[in-house]
C-alpha cells in the first residue's frame, strides 16, 4: 500500500460532556475510495467537519499527505487540496452554475488587483480559464446545458451534482462527499455511482459518508464503521458486511443474536 493521502490518528472531540468522536484512527490510502459508515448520530458528519477544519479537535492529529493540518483553518486546507461537499447542500443559490464552479477555483486562480482593475496582465486569459474549467466540470457532471441558470432554481439531485463539480474545480487531492446520494431516486443514484466510479478511475482519492449500503459497498475499496463516536470495524466491504459488531450496531443486539442463531 502506498503512503496514505489522509491519516487520522487518535482523533477526539468533545462538545461539553458529549464525546462526539472518541479516539478514532484510520488511513485513507492514496487513490482509494474509503467509506465512512455508521448509524445516525454516530459522528460521521462531525468527523467530516474535523477533517475539513470546521470543528477544532480536542485531541489527535489529522495529516493530509505529508502535512499535519490540525491547526489550519478550513480555507487553507482547501488550498492544500482538501475538498468537500455538504450533507445539507450548500451551493451558492444566487449565482449561476458556471459562477458556482468558477468560485471553486478560487485558491488557484491568480488575479492581482492591478490586473483586475486594468483588465491587463493576463486577466482575460485567467477569466477564460475559470470559465473553461467551470464548463468542463459542469459537462463532467452533466449540467453544462444549465450553466447560466441560477443554482438555487435547480432540482435537488442537480444541486448535489453541482456541489461535486464545484468541489472538483480546484483539482483536489482528496474529495470528501457527505451523503452524496441522500434524497436521490434509484436512477439518479445509479448515475451518481457512475460519476464517482469515473472519478475513481482517474485516481482521485475519496472519502464518502453514505447511508445507502448497496451504494457504499459497490463504490468503496475500504470501509470504516463508527458507532457512538468510536471506530468499531474496518476492512473491505465484504469483511465489514460480515462483521458481527457492525450488524449489532445497525440492527441492535437482539436482532443480531437472532440472525446468528438462524445462520
Amino acid at each position: 500500500m502506498s503512503a496514505p493521502m489522509l491519516s487520522i490518528a487518535a482523533l477526539s472531540v468533545r462538545f461539553g460532556g458529549l464525546v462526539a468522536v472518541d479516539d478514532v484512527t484510520f488511513d485513507v490510502a492514496a487513490g482509494s475510495t474509503h467509506g465512512l459508515i455508521g448509524p445516525n448520530g454516530a459522528g460521521k458528519t462531525t468527523m467530516f467537519n474535523l477533517i475539513s477544519g470546521l470543528t477544532p479537535p480536542t485531541s489527535g492529529a489529522i495529516r493530509l499527505a505529508d502535512r499535519e493540518i490540525n491547526d489550519l483553518p478550513s480555507w487553507k486546507r482547501a488550498a492544500l487540496g482538501l475538498s468537500r461537499t455538504f450533507q445539507n447542500i450548500r451551493v451558492f443559490p444566487e449565482m449561476t452554475l458556471a459562477e458556482n464552479v468558477a468560485t471553486g477555483l478560487h485558491p488557484s486562480l491568480v488575479q492581482g488587483f492591478p490586473a483586475i482593475l486594468t483588465r491587463l496582465g493576463g486577466f482575460a486569459a485567467s477569466e477564460r480559464r475559470a470559465r473553461d474549467i467551470a464548463m468542463e466540470q459542469l459537462e463532467f457532471v452533466g449540467l453544462a446545458a444549465k450553466a447560466r441558470q441560477r443554482a438555487g432554481d435547480l432540482p435537488y439531485g442537480d444541486q448535489r451534482r453541482l456541489e461535486i463539480a464545484r468541489a472538483l474545480a480546484n483539482q483536489p487531492r482528496l474529495l470528501m462527499l457527505d451523503e452524496p446520494a441522500a434524497g436521490m431516486n434509484p436512477s439518479e443514484k445509479l448515475e451518481l455511482l457512475g460519476l464517482l466510479e469515473r472519478l475513481k478511475g482517474r485516481g482521485l482519492t475519496m472519502l464518502v459518508v453514505e447511508h445507502d449500503m448497496k451504494f457504499v459497498m459497490r463504490l468503496c475499496d475500504r470501509i470504516s464503521v463508527i458507532n457512538f463516536g468510536r471506530k468499531i470495524a474496518e476492512g473491505a466491504p465484504a469483511e465489514v458486511r460480515a462483521n458481527a459488531d457492525v450488524i449489532e450496531a445497525y440492527l441492535g443486539a437482539k436482532v443480531a443474536r437472532g440472525l446468528e442463531k438462524g445462520a
Partner: protein, 287 residues
C-alpha cells in the same frame, strides 16, 4: 455654462453635492454588505475623514489632493484597529462593535477643543466641488464593477451567500472581511472629506447613529446585487425629502412609510438586477 443650468446649480447646489456624497457613502456600505458583513461604522469613518481633512486644511494648509489621500488612510487605519480584534465576529457583533466606536468618536469630538467641541469646525475652504465628488463616485463605481467580475467578486458573493461553504472552497475569510472593512472605511472617509469641503462646516452630530442607519438604508433600499443599487438608493433617499416638501410636517412620516413599503415589497431592493460574476461569458467562444 447655459443660464438655466447656472440657475439650477445655484438653487440646488447643496442637493447636487449631497447626492454625490451620499452615493459614495452608499458604495462604502456596499463593500461590507456585499460580503455578508454588517457594519454600522460608516458614519464614524465618514467623520474621521471629515475631521482629518478639516484639520489638515485649516491648521496645516496641506494641498487638497494630499488631504484626500490622508482622509482615506486615517479611517482605513481605524478600520484595521477595529477590525483585527473583531474579525472573528460576524454579522450583528461587528455591527455592535462599530456602533460603539462611532459613539466613542462622537464624544471625543464633543469634548476635545481641537475638534471644536459640539459646535464643530467652521470656515473650511470650499476646495471640493461637483467635479471632485462625481469624479470619485465614477471611479468608485468603475472599480467595483471590475472587482465584481473577478475572482474577488465571486469570493465576496460566495461569502454573502454561504460563509461556511466559501471558507470550505478556500476563500480566506479573515483577510476578505478585514480588507472589505478597510476599503469601506477609506471610501466613507473620502466622502466625509469631500462633504466637509463643500459645506465648509462640520459638527459631531452629523456622524452619529442616525447617519449610520441612513447610510445602511441607502444600500438596503437600492439592493446589493450590483454596486449601482446602493447608489440608486442614495439618490432616492436624498431626493425623496425634497420631493415631499409640499407635505410639510408630514414629510418625514411619508418618507419613512415609503422606505418601509419598499423594503417589505422589494426585499432585494429597487434594483434587483444581479451583476454576473464571470468576466468571460459561459458558453461563449474560445476553447
Amino acid at each position: 455654462m447655459p443660464a438655466f443650468l447656472d440657475d439650477f446649480l445655484f438653487t440646488y447646489e447643496s442637493l447636487v453635492h449631497s447626492l454625490g456624497v451620499n452615493g459614495l457613502l452608499a458604495l462604502s456600505m456596499y463593500v461590507v454588505l456585499a460580503m455578508g458583513q454588517l457594519s454600522l461604522g460608516q458614519a464614524a469613518f465618514m467623520g474621521i475623514g471629515a475631521y482629518t481633512s478639516a484639520l489638515l486644511t485649516l491648521n496645516v494648509g496641506a494641498p487638497f489632493p494630499l488631504v484626500l489621500v490622508a482622509v482615506m488612510i486615517t479611517p482605513a487605519l481605524g478600520a484595521l484597529i477595529i477590525g483585527a480584534p473583531t474579525l472573528r465576529l460576524s454579522g450583528v457583533y461587528l455591527a455592535l462593535a462599530t456602533i460603539g466606536v462611532g459613539e466613542m468618536l462622537r464624544l471625543l469630538y464633543i469634548n476635545t477643543p481641537l475638534f471644536g467641541g459640539a459646535l464643530g469646525l467652521s470656515g473650511i475652504p470650499r476646495l471640493a466641488g461637483i467635479i471632485w465628488i462625481y469624479g470619485c463616485l465614477a471611479v468608485g463605481l468603475i472599480v467595483f464593477v471590475f472587482v465584481a467580475r473577478s475572482r474577488v467578486g465571486r469570493a465576496m458573493e460566495a461569502m454573502r451567500e454561504d460563509e461556511l461553504a466559501a471558507g470550505a472552497i478556500g476563500v480566506n475569510l479573515p483577510r476578505y472581511k478585514l480588507g472589505g472593512l478597510v476599503v469601506s472605511a477609506a471610501i466613507a472617509g473620502l466622502a466625509g472629506a469631500l462633504d466637509a469641503h463643500v459645506s465648509s462646516f462640520i459638527s459631531p452630530a452629523a456622524y452619529g447613529f442616525d447617519a449610520a442607519v441612513t447610510i445602511l438604508s441607502f444600500a438596503l433600499l437600492g439592493g446589493i446585487g450590483s454596486p449601482f443599487g446602493p447608489v440608486l438608493g442614495a439618490i432616492i433617499l436624498t431626493l425623496l425629502p425634497e420631493a415631499l416638501r409640499p407635505l410639510q410636517d408630514f414629510r418625514l412620516v411619508v418618507n419613512g412609510l415609503i422606505i418601509v413599503l419598499a423594503v417589505l415589497f422589494m426585499p432585494r431592493g429597487l434594483l434587483a438586477w444581479r451583476m454576473g460574476r464571470l468576466a468571460a461569458r459561459p458558453g461563449g467562444a474560445s476553447r
